[in-house]
Subunit: 439 residues, 2 copies
């Protein structure tokens, strides 16, 4: 099936999907759980083939780990689907209701975005998660997975599609792309695709962002900072810095730079150096840092680098404002932390640091959809519009304005003797008549 | 002042502006009202110069009208500013509050977007409106007005800047660009500018959208439809169709195409033809339409055309689904209307038409920020993310996630003996301690 055709079908399916009631969508999700369980043997067999090929191709161990989709992973995916079924239908929720005049009512109602283009590397579990989130939120999707997971993705897409069809979902709501050429072509399909969500390496995400007019939800870099203030509890600061850097180094919310108030440096730096050395973290520092602890020197390039590894750059700053300036200059607007005992300074830090997530006295590693209680995560966004930080299902929704009148025309509200608008807030949902009680 | 410098200053100012309290921002707005009133003579004098030049240059009458900024317009702008002052501070509002664990709290707090790039043609009142909306919502801005309004825009920007400085607003929060070259340059400044709002002709907006990586909030075309269903009250349908087309033809929310259910066509078309003929509207129709009323034929090109004039295309459709398909194919996702006595069909229409605004039994011309009770309007958006339809101050806001802990680290919540998250909703605002009562 060619991509243009798949995109056109997804667009048509999106219209129908957006109008489905919650029960139908839940029935489809239930069918998908059943099918994944019934097809477990075939899915894991396909995944073992992908794994064998990937090992032969010399794929790195962490990538092999992400590629694995065994029975336990399928069970985990099914558990995720079951909690998704429990959630209320996110589509058609009345966000505001206003009377403009007698019998002229305006509603703002939540709606799906339309067609979501998802491009991800490895991780077959992402396919299950993102397609079920799109289904629940009434969005169609075009998926492109990594070639190393081709067999697993194909059988998963087939299983999900067949199950959804049994629940009468419209054909074409899930399209799977299978060649790399199709990604380039997909990025040009702004007529059909409303939002692109890329999940993968920085270079990969940046490439996507640079090559499409379609809005992209995601993040390229995650250059996160921990700032240790003069008023910090230094033991706490060591603990937060170590967790932020070391708890899992290969992820976007791990810290890359430690900023230290000059008045705290002498007491703090030796202690934090010892803690990091124990964890095997290689340190680099500015001149002021190196006057206190003996580590290699950091350059401006370090402040801009996301190591994603057991490495950390350290800079001594004059005060909190200098730390904020550094973060706003070199950071990526992802997650930044202040450690201080002074609550008003923490609030000032949050007011001034222009990042999606700003934390006081806790690890940057908390920046994550599961920890935020969002349920399944669509991705983490460093965008300045629509959705920011860890994004749950909300990121797949927009709204529509719906007005209900009885023949009202604007001519009556303009010029000589114009009628006035009442603009009175209504306490009811869209579709609820006056007689029905407020929920 | 060169643009790079202005953009850098705006970025720095944005950080400070985002941290200002509501009282300071209101004081700046108050100073601006006073200054506009005090400088009225100078402002209107500059505007008369622009008008004289524009007349000499042969600017069309409607553009001349939009360019005029006389004492009455200044008074109107000041009234708008006074109502803006009355609104609560939109920044720092707690959107959600969640306990993750004991003493570990997560807040979602409203925040400004950052630096807004505004590009508009004529209309000096847009300068006052958009700069005051940005100020109230804590955003810095770079403004480029039409060259025909150069003198008016310059004195307005100077007046506003001087007044805001008296209220201690940061330097550079409002930058005025004065040459056309700067627009092209501005579109490349994605490092500094977070959102572009273009206000002007379709071609102008489409040019902006096609030439920048910065997100654009706006709409190019406004191809709006009125669909007259089989179950329509035909008198009401004539009234709604005429208002949608004629109440003001040169605007994006005016109707361009009338769709008529085949079973209503014979009774409806002659009546609506008479009504439109009286209003001087030139009609074009499909073959089925022309079998009933004698008008020139419409082509596919007509369905894609925003006339913005006393012209209307008419198509007879088999049923409501065919009308929906036509709208989703040829429309621009702006505003579409159904006239029917059948409420369930109206809801089905709204569920399926993928437009920002969908109306039942009322004119498309209601699609407007003032009529929606949004206060001042940032613009009308046909985007599928962030903000849709008429956009008020909300469109200039995003949120930030703020976490407050007491040294919490992720290591305690993973692996063997992991602590569990409580994910308990908190009923308090960010910054409010446990002791304070819930508002």
């Amino acid at each position: 099936m060619d991509l243009q055709h798949a995109a056109r079908m997804a667009k048509t399916a999106a219209t129908r999907l957006s109008a489905l009631d919650g029960a139908t969508k839940n029935e489809a999700l239930t069918q998908i759980v059943k099918a994944l369980e019934a097809d477990t043997a075939a899915i894991t067999a396909a995944n073992r083939q992908d794994l064998a090929q990937a090992e032969k191709d010399g794929l790195a161990a962490p990538l092999l780990k992400r590629l694995r989709f065994d029975e336990a992973k399928i069970q985990e995916a099914c558990a995720g689907l079951r909690s998704l079924i429990q959630l209320p239908d996110p589509v058609g929720v009345t966000l505001s209701a206003l009377e403009l005049d007698r019998d002229l009512e305006l509603y703002k109602v939540s709606r799906p975005i339309g067609v979501i283009g998802v491009i991800f590397e490895s991780r077959p579990d992402a396919l299950v998660q993102i397609s079920s989130l799109c289904l629940k939120s009434g969005n169609a999707l075009l998926l492109k997975g990594g070639s190393e997971a081709a067999r697993t993705n194909r059988i998963l897409a087939d299983t999900i599609t067949a199950a959804a069809t049994r629940a009468h979902l419209p054909d074409g709501w899930l399209g799977l792309l299978e060649t790399r050429d199709e990604v380039t072509e997909m990025l040009a399909l702004d007529r059909f695709i409303d939002l692109i969500i890329p999940r993968g390496s920085n270079e990969f995400v940046r490439y996507i962002m640079d090559h499409t007019r379609i809005p992209v939800l995601g993040h390229a870099d995650g250059i996160c900072h921990v700032y240790v203030d003069r008023e910090a509890d230094l033991q706490m600061a060591v603990r937060v810095a170590v967790d932020s850097k070391c708890q899992y180094v290969a992820v976007c919310n791990a810290a890359e730079t430690l900023l230290v108030h000059q008045d705290a440096a002498r007491a703090f730096l030796p202690a934090v150096r010892d803690a990091f050395t124990q964890k095997g973290v290689a340190l680099r520092g500015c001149a002021a840092t190196r006057r206190i602890i003996d580590i290699p020197s950091a350059t401006d390039e370090d402040w801009r680098t996301e190591y994603l590894d057991l490495m950390l750059s350290i800079k001594v700053v004059a005060d909190m404002d200098a730390a904020v300036d550094h973060i706003n200059t070199f950071g990526s607007g992802h997650t930044d932390v202040i450690v201080t005992a002074d609550r008003s300074k923490a609030v000032r830090f949050m007011d001034r640091v222009d990042s999606a997530d700003v934390f006081w006295n806790c690890s940057s590693r908390f920046s994550d959809g599961f920890r935020y209680g969002l349920g399944a995560e669509v991705g983490i966004s460093t965008n300045k519009i629509h959705a920011r930080g860890p994004v749950g299902m909300e990121g797949l929704l927009i709204y529509q304005w719906r007005m209900m009148g009885k023949g009202h025309v604007v001519a009556d509200y303009s010029g000589e003797g114009a009628k006035a608008f009442t603009h009175k807030q209504l306490h009811k949902r869209f579709g609820q008549s006056h007689a029905e009680p407020t929920p």
